[in-house]
Amino acid sequence: MAAETALALAEALTAGTTTAAELVETALARAEAARPLGAFVHLRADAARAEAAASDARRAQGAARGSLDGIPVAIKDVMIHEGEPCTCASRILENFIAPYPGTAVARLQAAGAVVLGRTNMDEFAMGSSTEHSVYGPTRNPWDPSRTPGGSSGGSAAAVAAGVVPIAFGSDTGGSIRQPASLCGVVGMKPTYGRVSRYGLVAFASSLDQIGPFARTAADCALALEAVAGHDPADSTSLPEPAPRLRAALTGDVSGLVIGLPREFFDADGVEPAVLDRVREAVAELERGGAKTRAVSLPHARYAIATYYLIATAEASSNLARYDGVRFGRRAAADTLAAMYRRTRSEGFGPEVKRRILLGTYVLSAGYYDAYYRKAMKVRTLLRRDFEQALSGCDLLAGPTTPELAFRIGEKTGDPLRMYLSDIYTVSANLAGIPALSVPCGFSDGLPIGLQLLGRPLDEATLLRVADAYQRRSDWHLRAPDPATWAGPGR
C-alpha cells in the first residue's frame, strides 16, 4: 500500500485529523526504516520538528499558508538551503554551510513545507545511477541490489519508499525523469527557466532545472506551483509568474493529440518490455479520447553527443570555483599551484574529473569550433525538430529510459554506456521544453516510466495527461516491500 499523497495529507491537516508534528514523526520513522537504501545524506530531525510545530501553530491561528504547509519534503543535496550543509555528494564541499538562501528552498519554506532532509545524488549531479557519491550508492526500493537511477536517485528513492510525498531534484539530462522511471514515481523537469536556478549548484547552466518527484501528477503540480515563477536573481528565469497547475487536472484527455516520435520507438537497445508498457499506456490514453500521430525528431540521434559536449564544457567552467580558497575542502600544500591541484584531485571523484577533462578539452584552443560551437548548432537543429513536431500535436510521448533499473556496479566501468541511459531524456534539456515521467507498468517487478514532453511553458498539459492516466491506472498505488531493504545494509 502506497503512502499518502501530499494532497491527502493536506486535507487531513485541514480537517484536523493529523498534525504537521505527526507527519514529521512518521516521516522520520520511515526514513529510519529506509536507512539501508541510503536515500538521505542529511536528516534535519530537530529543525524539521520545530518547523512542523510552527506550522501547527499557524494552522491553529487560522494562518496556514496553503496546501504545502506542514507537508514534509526532501531536497536534493544540490539545492542551497540557508544555514544548512550542501555537499553535492562531493568530498570537496564537506563542511560547507550555505550562508545565503537559495530561491527554490526559500519558496518552499515560505509555503510552509517542512524540509526533512537532503537526498543523495551522483556527485555534482553527474551520473545516472547515484553511485558516484561520496556517501556511497543509493539503492532502488524495488530491488536494493539495483540503482535507483540518477543523478537525483536519493529523491526518487525517498518518494518511492514512502518517506516523503514530495521531493525535489535537478534534471540536466534526465536526472529527475530517469530515476523517477526506475523507481516508479512521477518526476518532472519543467521548462528551462520555470524554476529559479539561484541556489541550485550548477552542473550545466544552460540545461539545469529543478523539478519535483511525487507519487502522483497532482502532487507534482502542487510541488511545482510552490517553487515556480520568475526570480529576478536568475537571468535565465522566465518572466511568467507561477502557473496554476492543479486547476488544469481535469482528468480529460479527449481531443488531445499525442505525437509519437518514430525515433523513440525504433531505437536499438531498448528493453522490449519498456516499449510494450509505453505502447499500452498510450493506448490507454487513446481509450480516454486522445488521438495519436507519428512524428519525427530527425536529430534526436545526435542528442547524446550534443549533450555531452555542452554539459561537460559548461561543467568544466562551473566547477572551477572549487579551489580550496574561500570554502570547502583544501588539501595541504606548500605552493598555491600544488594546493589547487591536490585540492581538486582529492576533492572530486573520477566521474567529475572525467567530465571536467572532457569539457576543458572541448573548449580548449583549436577544438572550440569543432566541438562546442558545433554542438550549439546541432542544438538549434534539435530545438527546431521539437518545434516542428509540437506544431501538429499537443504533446509527445515515448519511453523515459531504454531499460529497467540496472545493478549497482553494472555500468560504472563503462562511462559511455552509462551516458546512453539518457538517450530519451537529454533532448528535452537541449530544447528547454518540459517533460515528465509517469509510472506505466512493471517488468520483473521493476518499474517502467512513460515520458511525456510538451511545448515550452505547457507543464499544465503534461500534468493533465499524466493525472488522467493515473486516474485510469493503478501502477502508482503499488509500493515496494520494506522487508527487502534490510538485506544489503550500509
Binding site: 550542501c86 560547507f96 537571468s235 559548461e314 572551477a320 570555483r321 606548500d334
Partner: protein, 497 residues
C-alpha cells in the same frame, strides 16, 4: 625621458586601459562598490563565487559603457555577449572572469589627442588615435603578497574589488611615442570624467593601464614582436616605462637579437623594465558564452537616449567656443581639457556678463595666470579655493580701472590658495590703481627729468621710447598707475603742457 624619436626604429605602442565604472553596486551583484574598506567587507555571495549563485547585469554599467563608446565615436553593437574567461587565480573567485570576447559592446572609435611639444625646437600637435574595442567586464579581487602583511609563505585574498564593473578600452597600435601615450591617457581620463563614466582615479585603481610596445625600422610596414608592460600605476611611469622599454628593445635589436614575447613590469627606481613572465605558448582561456547570462541587446532607441543624456563633450565645447566666443583653437583645446576647468571658464564668462568679450578676458586670465598657478602647484582647479565669481570680480576690477593688471595678477595665486574677496584684498594690499592726476604728473615729470635723451627720441617721433617711459612710471608707482591715465599725462607733459 627620451623625447626625440629613435634614430633607427619607429616605436609602435598600443594601450589597454581598464576603468572602474561609476556605479553604486557591482556589475553582477548588489554589493556596494567601496574603496578602502577592511578585507571582504563589501562582498555578496555572488562576489565570493559561492556554489549556486548567479549573475544579474547592472543596467547602469551598460549605460555608462555606451556613454564611453559614444564619447569615443565607437559603434555600439546591437548585440554583445558576455563570455567566461577561464583561469585559476586566488583573487578570481569563480575560476573565470565574466568579460566580453568575440562580441564586445562597441568597436572602431577614435580619440583626438594634443601632444605637447617635446622640446623648444618642436611644435605641439594634434593627432587621432584609433580605438579597437570597448567591452564590459568584472574586476578581480586583490591578492596581497606583502610578507609584512601575509607572512613569508602566505598570501592574503580580499574580494572587495571582485565584481566591480570595468570598462576595457583597447587602442589601435597607433601611438608613436611615450609622449603620445601619455597624452592619450590624459585625454581619455578627462573624457571619461567629463562623460560621468568613471572617476578614473589612478590611486584608487579606477584607471589602470597596460601597454604593449614593439619597434620596427623606420619605413617598415610589418609590426615587430611586441612586449607587454603591466601594472603601470601613474602616467609618468607609463611614459618612463615605455621609454625604458624602447631602449631595451633597441639594444637587443642593435645587437642582432630577437625580441621575446613577454610581460614586463617597470622599476621606477632603476628606470628599467623587468621581465615578469615569458609567454611560451598562448594562454588558453577557453572563452565561451556565459550560459548564466542572456546576450546583451541594445536597441537604437536606447543608444539614442544615452546620446541625448550625454553631457557636452570637449570637442563640442571647443566648437561652440570657437564660433560663439571666437576663441582660438589653442585656447579652446586647453580650456576644454578637463570638465572642471571648462565649467570654471564658463562660470567666469557668465559672471562677466557673457559674450565674446567676456570670454576673451576669462580665457586670457585662466590661460595666463590660473593655469600657471595650477601647474606650479601640481593641482587641478576643483581642488583649489578659487571661485569663478572671485576671478570674475578681479577681472572686473582690472577692466574697470580700479586695479592694474600688473597688480592684480599676483592675487590669482593668493585666491587659489586661500580664497577670499578680491576687492577686499586689493584694498588691504593698497593696490588700487593710481589715476590721480597730481600723483601721475609728479611721476611723469620725474621720469622726463631722469631720461632726457629718451625724451629727445620720443619728441623726434620714436614710439618705442614712449613704452620705456611708461615702464618707468609704473616702476615709480609700484605698478599701480592706471595705464590709460598715465599715458595721457605722460603725453601731455612731453608736449610741455
Amino acid at each position: 625621458m627620451t623625447a626625440a624619436p629613435h634614430p633607427t626604429y619607429e616605436v609602435v605602442i598600443g594601450l589597454e586601459v581598464h576603468v572602474h565604472l561609476r556605479t553604486e553596486s557591482k556589475l553582477f551583484s548588489p554589493a556596494p562598490v567601496r574603496y578602502g574598506e577592511p578585507p571582504n567587507h563589501a562582498v555578496h555571495p555572488i562576489d565570493l563565487g559561492l556554489p549556486g549563485v548567479l549573475p544579474v547585469l547592472n543596467r547602469k554599467a551598460v549605460e555608462l559603457g555606451i556613454r564611453a563608446a559614444l564619447a569615443t565615436h565607437c559603434e555600439v553593437h546591437a548585440r554583445s555577449v558576455f563570455a567566461r574567461k577561464n583561469y585559476f587565480y586566488p583573487d578570481l573567485p569563480k575560476g573565470y572572469q565574466i568579460s566580453q570576447y568575440e562580441d564586445p559592446l562597441a568597436t572602431g572609435g577614435w580619440l583626438e589627442i594634443d601632444v605637447p611639444a617635446a622640446s623648444a625646437a618642436d611644435d605641439a600637435y594634434v593627432t587621432r588615435i584609433g580605438l579597437t574595442r570597448i567591452h564590459i567586464e568584472e574586476d578581480a579581487g586583490k591578492s596581497i603578497h606583502d610578507a609584512a602583511v601575509a607572512g613569508a609563505d602566505r598570501s592574503h585574498v580580499d574580494l572587495n574589488r571582485a565584481g566591480v564593473p570595468l570598462l576595457e578600452i583597447v587602442s589601435e597600435p597607433d601611438l608613436r611615442s611615450p609622449a603620445e601615450a601619455g597624452a592619450y591617457l590624459r585625454t581619455l581620463q578627462h573624457l571619461l570624467r567629463y562623460a560621468g563614466v568613471s572617476d578614473a582615479d589612478m590611486e584608487r585603481g579606477q584607471f589602470r593601464c597596460d601597454a604593449n610596445l614593439s619597434l620596427r625600422r623606420h619605413g617598415a610596414t610589418e609590426l615587430g614582436t611586441r612586449t607587454e608592460l603591466k601594472n603601470l600605476n601613474s602616467f609618468r611611469f607609463v611614459e618612463e616605462a615605455l621609454a625604458a622599454e624602447t631602449v631595451r628593445q633597441a639594444g637587443l635589436l642593435d645587437a642582432g637579437r630577437d625580441i621575446q614575447q613577454c610581460t614586463l613590469s617597470y622599476d621606477p627606481e632603476r628606470h628599467a623594465t623587468r621581465v615578469m613572465r615569458v609567454k611560451e605558448n598562448a594562454d588558453d582561456y577557453r572563452y565561451f558564452p556565459d550560459p548564466d547570462l542572456i546576450a546583451l541587446h541594445v536597441d537604437a532607441a536606447e543608444i539614442d537616449a544615452v546620446r541625448r543624456a550625454l553631457p557636452e563633450l570637449p570637442e563640442q565645447k571647443r566648437a561652440r567656443w570657437q564660433t560663439g566666443y571666437e576663441l582660438s583653437d589653442y585656447d579652446a583645446r586647453q580650456l576644454a581639457e578637463s570638465r572642471a576647468l571648462a565649467d570654471f571658464f564658463e562660470a567666469v564668462v557668465a559672471e562677466l556678463g557673457g559674450g565674446a568679450r567676456a570670454a576673451k578676458s576669462a580665457a586670457n586670465w585662466i590661460q595666463r595666470d590660473v593655469r600657471a598657478a595650477l601647474g606650479e602647484r601640481g593641482v587641478e582647479i576643483e581642488t583649489t579655493r578659487l571661485e569663478a565669481s572671485a576671478l570674475a570680480r578681479l577681472i572686473a576690477l582690472v577692466e574697470g580701472g580700479r586695479v592694474t593688471a600688473q597688480s592684480a595678477r599676483p592675487l590669482v595665486a593668493e585666491l587659489l590658495d586661500h580664497g577670499g574677496d578680491p576687492e577686499a584684498l586689493v584694498r588691504a594690499r593698497g593696490l588700487e590703481a593710481v589715476s590721480d592726476t597730481g600723483a601721475l604728473e609728479a611721476a611723469a615729470d620725474a621720469v622726463i627729468a631722469a631720461h632726457p635723451e629718451v625724451v629727445e627720441q620720443v619728441r623726434g617721433g620714436e614710439a618705442k621710447g614712449l613704452n620705456f617711459l611708461m615702464g618707468q612710471i609704473m616702476k615709480r608707482t609700484q605698478g599701480k598707475a592706471s595705464p590709460g591715465a598715465a599715458r595721457e599725462v605722460l603725453q601731455r607733459r612731453l608736449r610741455g603742457a
